[in-house]
Symmetry: C2
DNA sequence: AATTTTATTGAACAGGTGTACAGTAAAATC
DNA sequence: GATTTTACTGTACACCTGTTCAATAAAATT
């Protein structure tokens, strides 16, 4: 069998316990022992499923990044995301997504946390761009490198946002992104 | 006094021990006890200077990112780095820097390591861009947000490079970056 | 050179980590 | 419903962590 009821029950208990403890302290300060105490699960059982507390959190976070992809496949207007002239603030769902799961992204972007979560987010955005822009190929430009560039550029804005405690509005960031992406076409003459 | 000889000696011993152990295992697998054994320093002494092994590595890494800034202030041709039309592959020193300290960046970009090092690199590049581009201000665009966008975009390329085990040449990446940055001006019509 | 200051040491402590293994209990399978 | 399979438990062990504190030794200061 693929899903033993005992496994489901154990994982659920650990999940709930982690969320509980995350209200009290930061991820890096949480011990396996503490989670197991709260979940009423033997410590050895924890190691049957995970190696560190971080792996338990990783399970959550993968669900969240999956939601990001889903929000793009909605019967929403699914338009090219970063194609210069056609870029529409309404079609950018990323900042909206981050704000929705602000509670988790505060953890993901905290400096003591492993890079792993960053890569999960990066890969998700990169994949969206790779699919979205497969039609728009540029000569002499490595398409994947280009998408890595763009995906991480967006995360650069998100990092700034995070460091300002998510104080900008989603609308403002959408508008800024459109302006930034459209810069070169108007700047190629000046400066 | 600012620099007690004992402190210098202790830190040197710890530094050397860390480098030694880093040849054998990854940063996250190194224990404080192990470093102190090799350095012949009491474990309590370690805690007088650092809280974790990661902080010891941080000291190294700050020297490395400082070298990145220095390479820009050289009597080299110090030209605007990312201004579209004036961008010259020779003036881009970032990929060169990364390759030079490849050994360290392999650690910095490994997924188990804390985000902190990423932020140190990000901030260094961002500061370079902030200074470099203070002349080129765009209306309606938050200058800092713009630099965060560009700085992290470059790191996006570096991440790709890292995940391909630094197999691209520095020259190739410089040329790709120039092409990508110059895209919009030629793309605003097509697509 | 004698005195003062302070970094380092060593020992000890409560707690967490990671692993192993036999015993138990709760699933799945028949 | 009886049997087989396997997830979980409890215990134990060696080791690492983070902290405290009096004793020591190596600096700086006079």
């Amino acid at each position: 069998m693929r899903t033993d009821l005992r496994v489901i029950k154990t994982k659920e208990a650990l999940h709930n316990a982690l969320l509980e403890v995350l209200d009290e302290k930061s991820l890096d300060a949480i011990s396996i022992t503490e989670i197991c105490r709260k979940a009423k699960v033997n410590r050895g059982t924890f190691y049957l499923h995970y190696a560190q507390v971080e792996e338990l959190f990783e399970e959550y976070f993968k669900e969240i990044t999956a939601d990001l992809a889903r929000s793009y496949q909605e019967p929403y207007r699914h338009v090219t995301v970063l194609n210069t002239k056609e870029l529409n603030p309404d079609t950018i769902r990323i900042f909206h997504h981050i704000e929705k799961y602000k509670r988790f992204y505060r953890i993901v972007f905290s400096k003591k946390v492993p890079l792993l979560y960053y890569y999960l987010l990066f890969e998700e955005i990169k994949q969206l761009l790779l699919k979205d822009q497969e039609a728009i190929l540029h000569e002499d430009i490595d398409h994947e490198l280009h998408c890595s560039y763009q995906a991480n550029a967006i995360i650069g804005i998100i990092i700034d946002w995070y460091h300002k405690d998510f104080s900008y509005s989603v609308d403002y960031l959408n508008r800024q992104l459109v302006q930034i992406v459209n810069i070169q076409s108007s700047n190629s003459t000046g400066a």
